[in-house]
């Protein structure tokens, strides 16, 4: 049953539009409003602030930002291995490994000689985003 005190609490917290109130209390609030002469004034007292809050529209989406974020998304995983495929035979795989090691050695040597490389490595290791996800796990947000 809705009391006068609870009706005022709800209006003070959620505003003058009962549709924005917690679902569990909307029906009793509507019944209280219909049966209580002074209840409308409680809602009206919140209406102007609701209007001000509602007039503050959402910021416009930046299309360039949207495209940048889309470009950063992971690419589809390619399935390269097919049973019986000649192009990924054992010999081919071994050759690819040797080539990879040779290229990797040359690239890393050049990279490590570059003073800017240290800055890049420091920057990438300085940021640890795990704190955010620890918080999420603690709240059970990602629980299965």
């Amino acid at each position: 049953m809705m009391t006068s005190e609870r009706f005022q609490e709800l209006a003070g917290a959620y505003g003058g539009d009962i549709r924005r109130w917690p679902g569990a209390e909307r029906v009793t609030a509507q019944a209280y409003l219909a049966a209580t002469p002074g209840a409308r004034a409680v809602l009206d007292a919140e209406a102007q602030l609701d209007a001000f809050l509602g007039a503050s529209g959402d910021p416009r989406t930046n299309d360039l930002l949207l495209e940048r974020i889309v470009r950063q998304a992971p690419r589809p995983t390619l399935v390269m291995w097919r049973r019986g495929s000649a192009w990924m035979s054992g010999a081919g795989l071994a050759a690819a490994c040797v080539l990879g090691i040779m290229v990797g050695a040359n690239v890393s040597a050049g990279f490590l000689e570059d003073p800017a490389a240290d800055t890049v490595v420091e920057a990438s290791t300085a940021f640890d985003g795990t704190d955010y996800f620890d918080d999420v796990d603690a709240l059970g947000e990602n629980a299965g």
Partner: protein, 181 residues
Amino acid sequence: MSLIQDTDEVLVAGVARGDPASVRAFVTAKLPRMTALAARMLGNAAEAEDVAQEVFVRVWKHAASWRPGPAKFDTWMHRVALNLCYDRLRKRREIGMDVLPERVDEGPAPDAGLLARDVTVRVQAALNGLPDRQREALVLVHYQELGNIAAANLMDVSVEALESLLSRGRRALRESLKDMK
């Protein structure tokens, strides 16, 4: 289970596979929401875009390991965004920039009344002046339209405490905006 949650789960599964159509649909749906949340928490549009982009970096990283359950992916994204916002608010205080940027003159309005843009600026300035937790409660419930239980869980408070934050926040806003008609 709501339609929104269903849609999110389908899109997140597509994102995890790297499906370009799912990625675009997901960003189109969630970017305005994340940008709005951060803009209202930080009172700064450029920083809000940085936060939104950072949220998606984490989405790309974690979408594949997301396990659908009672928790909504949207709520998880809110938690990440809020943590990033609080990180920035904390750094502002550490460097002595305690006041949120984009504060505007809160003097009386012109007689001719307020244009919509003026109202937006005044309301954001009033929001900026609230204590962080009151602002967070109002942004989550009024603007992001989270349910009271979801918002309370997100803020790690009881529903009663959430309602207290909302009431105090609204009272303070009303006081800040009392000259507006």
